[in-house]
Amino acid sequence: MTDTQNLTLVQAVRDGLHTELREDDDVVVMGQDVGKNGGVFRATEGLFDEFGGDRVIDTPLAESGIIGTAVGMAAMGMRPVPEIQFSGFMYPGFDQVVSHMARFRTRSRGRFTLPMTLRAPYGGGIRAPEHHSESKEAFYAHEAGLKVVIPSTPYEAKGLLAASIRDPDPVVFLEPKLIYRAFREEVPDEPYTVPIGEAATRREGDDVAVFTYGAMTRPTLEAAETLGEEGIECEVVDLRTVSPLDREAIVEAFEKTGRAVVVHEAPKTGGLGGEITAILQEEALLHQEAPIGRVAGFDVPYPLYALEDYYLPSAARIEEGILEAVEF
């Protein structure tokens, strides 16, 4: 029997960092305000005191500097875990992500590998200022050489983070901040991993497969419950890794139901909904009974908060989208 604690998602992230810092001397955590301040979301609380400023490093305010120096550290065999304070501030460091993080292994035929994990809170719904609410996971999923992981529960957040840090490839680890503190779960104290690249079925159902991830998992499950009361049974699949996608699980859920809806808060056009639709087309057309629906953010810049509740897919919009697929 192992000890557990009842943790929120952000606490589980912290616990994951804690565990990995303890397990492996090559792990360092670095970024703006991650040290003394414990992170603006407290994801690194107490780590500075425990591991010191050489393991939990407050950096200057420079994203390319943070990611670029982490690339250099990782090339030397360390396992840096840089944090970008909000995913909307990744872009000043985007070149380091796409031109180097994603390519060092291939460029050097494997001589240099980058076992680094780039963490950032992402997504909307917390009434934050401009640029604090975007979800642009599709950018990273379009860049070969990266893995892109998005947890949606405390238990899995810790396990997926550990798996990412230990992974030989660079991982972009996006944390859905809307549910940082939304609920708690028992999280083992001991180290463990949840495998990258595997989706999880959150709810079984025969009528329609709904694919989602991150903070959208909850309103999707909510919509599924409501529809369940009306006799419509949704299979809800949480992708957990959005690159590389778990095509097998995706196809399987679709073949079971013949109908599919993808839910994400990222803008509809160019989001992962299109990719998943295309995968189903490639692999399972003969099972299809209805158009594959997308419930997503709108194709507009993410608004300031007075209008954000209209922007984000709500349970009502998700229900509506599922109904369309089911009633087709």
């Binding site: 703006q32 305000d33 603006v40 305010l61 420079a62 000043p92 200022p129 709108f298 209008l307 009502a316």
Partner: protein
């Protein structure tokens, strides 16, 4: 000898911490000095009210400016009406002086983009949240003015933390190369959230970063509004003068302190000492100017009380105005993404509007 011919660490000062004159008082006239004072009080009072609105759930995250009024009001006073201001997110005080209605600042932090839609004659850029990203804008805008043969100057505000970003470097370097009429005004308030100035960079001053761009750099006591005014004025004049024999751009480092939290989401006691805060509070720019103006016989208790009540009334009115604004219409979510809405966006809007009509706002809104 100009104010630019001095060592980078030779801080320009006019009033000392007690409001005693230690430098050249700018020739502003009593009325303007009182107006400067009034604006500093206004900014301070606004700030307190904004923080409490946030606490009451009537406003979102808000970045307080208390302690920084000297730099904001002093510098903004040096601008001509036609000059342009390119702010970060903390310059409500400066923007106010330059004509941005308080109501708009409130609206912005209440989550309405309207807050950024300054009246047509108010030359203020929208709030820039990504740190230092406005620096190249200020260079480019000033460059446009120069290319068109206009003679406006541009002031760009940013913090000490911003100097570590690539955009600071690239924007100021372009200004040097193209000799644009831009004043780069660094509000060095000692902290970038929890990161202290010394950890931001190893350079002894931020002013000396000008050396990298071959432009003038000068350090000023940012809690001395008169010193800030003088230095900014000199920099703006130089910027406006195409025949100047000095580089037109200037980097000003205004040394100051943020008294409060980084934003209402921040707890500064985690990372800094009360002692330090107290030490800086003794440099309060408002007290300093007040004490000077009292000594000069320009202000007395009565006048100060009148100012205080006018300030309170003005802020209260602005809050009323802002809070009486309705939530923007759904259409606003789409309206300004493009000059003309593409058909797919029109369709997205219509689907959302239909669903709202069908299910009611309750299906969307949390409150």
């Amino acid at each position: 000898m100009t104010v630019f011919d001095r060592a980078y660490d030779d801080t320009v000062r006019v009033l000392d911490e007690d409001g005693e004159v230690v430098g050249d008082v700018p020739d502003l006239g009593d009325d303007s000095l009182v107006e400067m004072y009034r604006h500093m009080r206004l900014a301070r009072h606004f700030d307190g009210r904004a923080v409490s609105l946030q606490r009451q759930g009537r406003m979102g995250t808000y970045p307080p400016l208390s302690g920084q009024e000297g730099a904001q009001i002093g510098s903004a006073y040096a601008l001509d009406d036609d000059d342009w201001m390119v702010p970060s997110y903390r310059e409500h005080g400066a923007a106010l002086v330059h004509g941005l209605p308080l109501k708009q600042t409130l609206l912005y932090w209440m989550g309405h983009e309207d807050g950024n839609n300054a009246p047509p004659d108010v030359n203020v850029f929208p709030v820039a949240v990504p740190i230092a990203s406005q620096v190249p804008h200020a260079t480019g805008a000033a460059w446009a003015s120069k290319l068109r043969g206009e003679d406006d100057a541009f002031i760009c505000y940013f913090g000490d933390g911003a100097t570590s970003e690539g955009d600071f470097h690239e924007g100021v370097n372009f200004a040097g190369v193209f000799d644009t009429p831009t004043v780069f005004f660094c509000n060095n308030n000692q902290w970038a959230i929890s990161v202290p100035r010394e950890r931001q960079t190893r350079s002894a001053t931020l002013a000396q970063k000008a050396e990298a761009y071959g432009i003038d750099g000068v350090q000023v006591d940012g809690m001395d509004p008169l010193a800030v005014y003088s230095v900014t004025k000199a920099a703006l004049e130089k910027a406006r003068d195409p025949d100047s024999d000095r580089p037109r751009p200037t980097l000003i480092e205004a040394v100051q302190y943020r008294f409060g939290a980084h934003t209402t989401a921040d707890d500064p006691t985690v990372y800094r000492d009360d002692d330090e805060v107290e030490r800086w509070k003794r440099k309060d720019p408002i007290d300093r100017l007040e004490s000077y103006l009292r000594d000069e016989g320009v202000l007395d208790d009565e006048r100060v009380a009148e100012i205080e009540s006018s300030v309170e009334a003005r802020v209260a009115d602005a809050i009323d105005e802002a809070e009486s604004m309705a939530r923007p219409d759904l259409r606003e979510l789409f309206e300004h993404a493009y000059a003309e809405l593409p058909p797919e966006l029109e369709r997205q809007y219509e689907a959302l509007a239909a669903l709202r009509d069908d299910r009611g706002d309750a299906a969307f809104l949390e409150d």
